[in-house]
C-alpha cells in the first residue's frame, strides 16, 4: 500500500515537473524563434552586403573606380 501511495506521489511530481518543463520550454521556444529570425535577418543582411560588394566590384571593373 505504501508503495502504491508513493508511486502516486511520484506521478504527481512527474506531472507537475512536466507541466513546468512544457511551460518553460514554450517560453524558450518563443525566444528561439526570435533568435532564429534575428540570425536569418543577420545572414540575409550579410548576403545583401556581399551582393552589394560584388555588384560594386563588377561596376568598378566596368566603369572604373566610383567615388561614393
Amino acid at each position: 500500500m505504501r508503495n502504491i501511495k508513493a508511486k502516486q506521489e511520484i506521478q504527481e511530481l512527474l506531472d507537475s515537473l512536466k507541466d513546468d518543463l512544457q511551460e518553460y520550454s514554450r517560453r524558450l521556444e518563443n525566444l528561439g524563434i526570435e533568435r532564429r529570425e534575428i540570425l536569418r535577418l543577420f545572414a540575409r543582411r550579410l548576403e545583401q552586403l556581399e551582393v552589394q560588394k560584388i555588384q560594386k566590384r563588377i561596376k568598378e571593373q566596368v566603369y572604373g573606380k566610383i567615388d561614393e
Partner: protein, 720 residues
Amino acid sequence: MEKLTNREQLSSVEPVKETEDTGDVSGVFRVLEGFSNLSQTHKSSQEAVGGIITSSNLEPDEYAPVLKGALVKLNELDKQEGQIIAEAHASVLKTIRDWVNKHRMAATLLVAGALHSPVIFKSTGFAESIQNILQNVKKWEMPNMVIRPQIEAEKQDVINRIHERGARVDHQKINAYKKEQLKKIENGEAIKLNDTYLELEELNGENPEKVKIAKQKKQEMINKFAERMGSDLSEEFIESVVNEMFGADTNYEWGQGSTTEYFITGKRNCVSIARAEQMVFEALIDRLPEANRDKYQLGTAFEKQHEIAILKVLKPDKTISRTYFLQPPVNTLFGTAERPGSPTVDLASMQRAMMSEKPTKISSNAKAGDIPPSPDIEVLTNQPVSSNIEIQGELKGSGYIERIVKDRKIEIQWKEPSITDDIPDLEIIKNDQVHKAKTEIQKSYEFIEAHTPHCEDIAKCLDKESLDKAIPFCAIDLSSIDWKNLPKNQVKEIIDNLKYDRKMVKPDTVNFGNIDNLPQDKIDDFILVGYPEIQFTIKKGSEEARLINSILKYNQSFQESKKQKLSTFPRLHLNLDEDLPDHYFVQILNNFKGEELILDRKNTKTRAYYTDQEVEAIITSKVDNLYLEGADFTEEAIQKIINNPNKTYHFGLTLYLENLERYPEIINLTHIRPWIDKVLTSSELQDVIDNLHLEKRASIVPFLEKIERESIDKFFNAHR
C-alpha cells in the same frame, strides 16, 4: 540558401518531446534532465553568428555595423533566456524541495530509484542542487516516520509486566511520600536522589527484594569508583565511569526497566541509566573535599524521546565552564552554549518535579521549524517513576537512538500524519488509545463471561465451586484514554466497541474520565452507550462549564422527550475535581432530573464541609437517589437531611461512618444508606467501633461487619 539551412539546424531550443514514462522514477529523472538541458541553448546562437560571419566573404569593417545591431538583439534575447532558465531551475528546485518535504516516503523511493536508473545527471550546478535535495532525504530526517522496535508479543509482555508491577502500587503511600519529600524541599532542605529514587521505584511497584539488592549493588559501584577518584573529578575519570556504567550497546532495552533492574542486571534504558549515573555521581561528589563539591551540578538534557544525564562544571562566579554529557562518547559543551531542541534541567528541579502533583513545564528552546523532523518511537514502556517534566516545543532527534536503530537494523516505517503525533513523553507513545480502550472493554467482558454459569471459554471460566451466579462489581475503566487528542474517528471506534451487542450482562459502570473537550453530540453518544452507569470526571479548566451544560442539556431533552433509545437515563456518576468551584455542584443538583446521581468529591485533599448553598441544593434536588462523597456535613446540615426524607441519600462509606459515629440513629433511617464506594479496611472499621458509645456498640457492630463483607464482596470477587 544552403547556408541558411545550416543555420536553422542551430535552433536554440528543441521542443520537449513527450516521454512514454509511466509515472516511474526514471520518468522524473528524464524530465529533470530536460530542465538540465535548457541551459545549453544560447551558446549555440553565438556559434551560429560565428558560422554566418565565417561563411561570408566580408571584411570585419564591412559587416561590423550589421553585426553590432544583431548582437544587441541577440544579447537581449540571451538575457531573457538566462532569466527564464534561472526561473525554471529555481521553480523546479522549489517544486522538488516542497514535494520531498511533503512526501518523504515517496522521496525515499525516488532516491533509491535514482541509484538504479540510467541517469543522466551531468555535473552542473543545477543537477547537483537536485541531487543535494534528494540525497539529504535521510531516513532519520523524515517526519511521519516511526521506529517500532517491539513486536506484538513483546508489547504484550510489557503490558503483563506493567500489570504485575501495578498490582503492588499503593497510591496513597506514594502520595504521602511525595508530599513529605516536597515539604522538605519547600523548607529548603536538599534531598538526595540516593535517598529517594529507589524508594520511589519500590512505591511504584518495583519488587522490594530487588530494590534491596539494587541498593547494595549501587553502594558497591560507588565504592569502586570512589577508590580511584582522587580529590577531584578528572575528565578521564568521568569518561571511565560513564563508559563502565553504560557497558555494551547490547545492554540497551527500549524504554524497559527500572534503575533497580539496571543496578542488578546492567540492562538499561535512557531513564534508568541517567538516574543511576546521577545517583553515582551525586555520591562521588559528596565524597570530594568540600572545596571541590560546589563546582559540580548534575542535571538532565532532553532530546526527542531520549534523555541524557549531564554534569556541569561551574566557575567560581557560578557561570558554566563546561558540560559533560554522561553518555558515550561523553561529549563536552563549553561555556553556556545552548543546544536548541535539547533543554536541560538541573537535578534539584527534577526532584521537585518528581515529587509534585502537576508536571513542571519547560521550553525546548527551539523555534518552530528550527529542528529537523525525526521519527517517533512507538514503544510500550515500563518505567516505574516519571520525571514529571513536560517539554513544550520541538525536540531534536537523538543521535544515540539513531545509532541504536542503525546498529540493530530496525526498519523505520512510514505512517499517515495524525493529530496525536505530539512529542510524546520520554520513550512513551500515547497513540495506542483505541487498542487500550478495546483491551479494557474486552477485559471487563471476559471477567463477566468467567463469572457466568454458561461460560464458553473453558480456559477462562471459573470452576463450578467458585462460581457465583451473581456477577460481582465490574467496571470498564477508560479514564486513562487521552480523549483530548483522539481523532473523531477513533472516538467513534471506541464508542462503537462499547455499544457492540455481546449478548451478555453489561459491566456495572464505564468510567470515561475527563471528556470536557468533546462536542455536544459526542457527549450525547457517551451517555447513550447503554450501560447502567457512566462516569465522567469534571476538572477545573476552560471547558468544565461547557461539559456540565452539555450533560444537563442532554438530561433535560431526555426527560422532555420520550423518543430516546434508552428507557432510563443511566446512573450518572460525576467525579468532581477538588478545585471545582462550588456553584457547579449546586448547578448540577438544581438542574439534574432522574432516578440516580452520584456526586463524588473523593479527591478532596482535606475534607471540607458542604456549604449552606450546597446543602440546600442537596435537599431540594429532584433526584430520587442521591449518592454523595467527598465532603462533610455540619451538625445543622445532617439534621436537615435527617428531616428531609424526600429522597434516598446514599453516603459514601467515609461520609457514612463519620456521621454514624456522631448520629448512630441513622442506621435506622431508610432514607440514609451507606454507599459502598470502597473497600472498608479492618483498621477503619476498628476506628469507628472505638469511637462509638459503648452502649451503642452491640447493636451497630454487626451492621458494620455486614458493610465490611459487602465492600469486600463488591470489590474483590464476591464468588470466592
